[in-house]
Amino acid sequence: MPLADVPVALMLVGLTAYMVLAGADFGTGLWELTAGRDTFGVRLRDYAHDAMGPVWEANHVWLIFVLAVFWSAYPIAFASVFTTLAGPLFVAVLGIILRGSAYAVRAVVRSDRERGLVDQIFALSSIATPFALGAAIGGIASGRVPVGNSAGNLITSWLNPTSIIIGVIAVAASGHLAAVYLAADARRQVEPRLLGAFRTRALVSGVVAGALALIGLTVLRADTPHLFSGLDQGAGLGAVLVSGAAGVMTIGLVWFGRYELARYAGATAVAAIIAGWAAAQAPDILPGLSIEAASAGRATVVTVIVVMAIGALALVPSLFLLFRLFLKGAFDPSAIRESIPARQEGGRIPRSLAGILVVLLVVGSALTVFADAGWAQALGVAALIVFLAGGFIAFATSITGETSR
């Protein structure tokens, strides 16, 4: 793969992760909106809300990644997209704020009325955001974003047949993924009624998403023939076929109760759509602008790749830990409580420690203020930081020994 293409590959991986992880979070909004107001509806909403609790924040960081790689590696294309598509992107951002806030607020609601209101906001913003992002992708895919500072039409670049159908598909696919995942989680928690509810939702939304995808292909054929021709042959066609097969397989797996496998099949169906888009649009990132020409240059691309590699070393084990704990049910309601023997602590800060802290403060301050050499100043600042950490532990231990009596 040419060096200039590596960042775009990373972006597509990030977008796929965003779609199959955060997309499913958005999808829960659809099911909260349609859950109804009776007791079971409330149970369903509570369950959908709790099930994504531990992972939702992590999932949304994928979008930041995609943006950061985009603006670093293809700055001109990024700036063109963000000016012409300011409308849908702004809608997406408002949706993200409202959704995240509603999520945080929901943790403390008490009455049904409060919960109902918060769930409405949560649900509507959960639908608006994937639609707006899908519409923005539709604008890029259909070649309506020319190079330049708001060079394209601010309205028709995202309110056009291709954008609208992609936005609708994004909402439907999110809902489908959410239902499949929630069914799998419900099975683990042995709740037959919830399992049944999400099984039905997964089947129906799967059929709807599939139908919309077929409609989408006819829309593309009429509205964006050049993109359609990319999906009609070669790698694009392969991706379309994989997506279709995986979609059908997901529905089959749900039907036969193999929910864990259905998770992965559903995610594959979505990932294949993104791959198909990439294949159909290559090698251009925007009309008349090839990925090669848009690339920021070797030094930047290499830096981005190095950062991604180092970051992945920290991220992959962390994510692995999170999902392992999450999937094996470590966060499900249960309690282990280790008893701690009571012990009196606190008292005066030992003289020797106090002495060291004072020396650190004095030397650190003097070096920071008066030293001219960079290394001496750095040493001074480091001494101040050690003083702060040590002073905090020592003083807070001492004073809480008194206050907690």
């Binding site: 924040e57 700055p75 963000f82 992107l89 702004f90 500072n149 920071t368 807070a396 001492s398 004073i399």
Partner: protein, 457 residues
């Protein structure tokens, strides 16, 4: 592989954006909403982990109650921080596309690195908060450590971008485009950002500590003085009290660096019109377009503070052409922001020293209600000082977005509808502010003693 061609950048000529001021205000508003939340993401993890550690050491359930309760506040504020931070990253493109088109290749990667820090932080914050009673004691405490480290790393990368904007390096400008780009050297090799990072990091501890202390000081004044409340007051107040005086030292370092690297900005802090040997410092007063009037002048102090020499020459605003310095109308904004930050900082340091001195000598909390009244005010003041500090550095850099390289007017979007976006975002943020307050009040309303009884069961 070719660098970006000049023809491509020609697609981004400076545009005539009639709503430039609104774009800047929108950015400032988004930032002012986000940055106090960042403070809690920086400092709360350390406070919570320390408190949990006290529980494991003493077996006293009150620490557990506090750590648990604060961890809920932590994840709520983190959630609000996530969304407001996402807004900022969108706005980089939505409002300042030419800035991104020209320099995205230089500093953009820092946000990818920040993304990783942030991702790790989000993961472990989830593990920590959802892992109470569900993970082993050692595992749970350890899961708090990456949150602390990632919080620092994330600040480092974001501030390095601000350091770049103030002190650009690592590229060559050629016909309006950045060539010969060395991203890592431009950011991490840039000596300018270190004082900004440490200054901001300490602010995080000051704001978090004083805001939390203000809440419990309010309770103290209302008669809530049980051992749980007193301990809940003492821990965050210790953090803030130690950080505040040290912040003065770091602030001095920051001001001297600005004096050397951005002399025009320093002149704007003071409203110093002409280059002066042995320049005075003016407290308060008003910059009338040519000098500071009605202020209290302290002879030679500015020279002494900026260069450690009362006779040093300090560059004035008129050392550069009028179009290359902050507009006269903004000088007073910068001056008052700067003086507000310094004044409040000194007050906070005084409160901190008092608290530590009484604690060390008498091993108890202060008893005077006046101390607690001061704390109640110190909380909001610390947030004001934080915003003032950012106004000082960001408005002080005007008219440039990248100091002496790119003007803010040349960075702005050509898209219409800025006032609509500004208004919509302002409404949403108003609702958000109400939501934050409401959530915190709800979290605070669970009686503390009940929590202890529950934890002790």
């Amino acid at each position: 592989m070719n660098a970006l061609s000049a023809a491509l950048l020609a697609a981004f000529p400076p545009v005539n954006q009639q709503y430039l001021a609104e774009a800047r205000q929108m950015q400032a508003m988004s930032f002012a909403v986000h940055i106090p939340l960042v403070c809690f993401a920086i400092a709360l993890p350390s406070i919570v982990v320390f408190t949990e550690w006290r529980y494991w050491r003493t077996g006293d359930p009150l620490y557990r109650t506090l750590a648990r309760r604060w961890s809920k506040v932590m994840i709520s504020l983190f959630a609000f921080g996530v969304v407001t931070g996402t807004v900022l990253s969108f706005e980089l493109g939505l409002l300042w596309p030419n800035f991104m088109a020209t320099f995205g290749s230089v500093f953009g990667f820092a946000f990818a690195a920040e993304g990783f820090s942030f991702f790790v932080e989000a993961i472990f914050i989830s593990i920590y908060v959802y892992g109470w009673d569900r993970l082993s004691k050692r595992m749970h405490l350890l899961s708090g450590i990456p949150v602390i480290v990632a919080g620092f790393a994330g600040s480092l990368f974001v501030i390095s971008v601000n350091g770049f904007m103030n002190h650009p390096s690592g590229f060559t400008m050629q016909n309006g485009r950045a060539v010969d780009v060395h991203p890592a050297a431009a950011l991490l090799g840039n000596s300018f950002f270190w004082h900004e990072l440490i200054h901001m990091y300490l602010s995080g501890f000051m704001v978090t500590g004083f805001v939390m202390a203000a809440v419990y000081a309010w309770g103290w004044l209302k008669g809530r003085r049980g051992r749980v409340e007193l301990t809940a007051l003492a821990i965050p107040l210790t953090v803030a009290s130690l950080a505040s005086p040290v912040q003065g030292i770091v602030g001095d370092w920051a001001a001297r660096t600005v004096a050397q690297e951005q002399p025009v900005k320093l002149a704007a802090f003071e409203g110093l019109q002409t280059t002066t040997r042995g320049a005075s410092e003016h407290l308060l007063g008003w910059y009338n377009g040519s000098s500071v009037v009605y202020g209290i002048a302290i002879p030679d102090l500015l020279s002494f503070l900026a260069f450690h020499d009362p006779n040093a020459t300090v560059q004035g605003l008129d050392a550069v052409a009028p179009q290359d310095r902050p507009p006269a109308t903004l000088i007073n904004v910068i001056r008052f922001a700067f003086q507000g930050m310094v004044g409040i900082g000194m007050l906070l340091a005084l409160i901190g020293v008092l608290f530590i001195a009484i604690g060390v000598r008498k091993r108890r909390l202060p008893r005077s209600p006046w101390f607690y009244r001061a704390l109640v005010i110190a909380g909001p003041l610390s947030v004001i000082a934080l915003i003032c500090g950012w106004v000082t550095t960001e408005v002080g850099r005007q008219p440039f977005i990248v100091y002496n390289v790119m003007r803010t007017t040349d960075a702005v979007t050509g898209a219409g509808g800025i006032p609509v976006g500004y208004g919509a975002l302002a409404l949403v943020y108003l609702a958000l502010a109400v939501a934050v307050v409401w959530v915190l009040r709800r979290l605070a309303r669970v009686p503390l003693e009940m929590g202890v009884a529950d934890a002790a069961r």
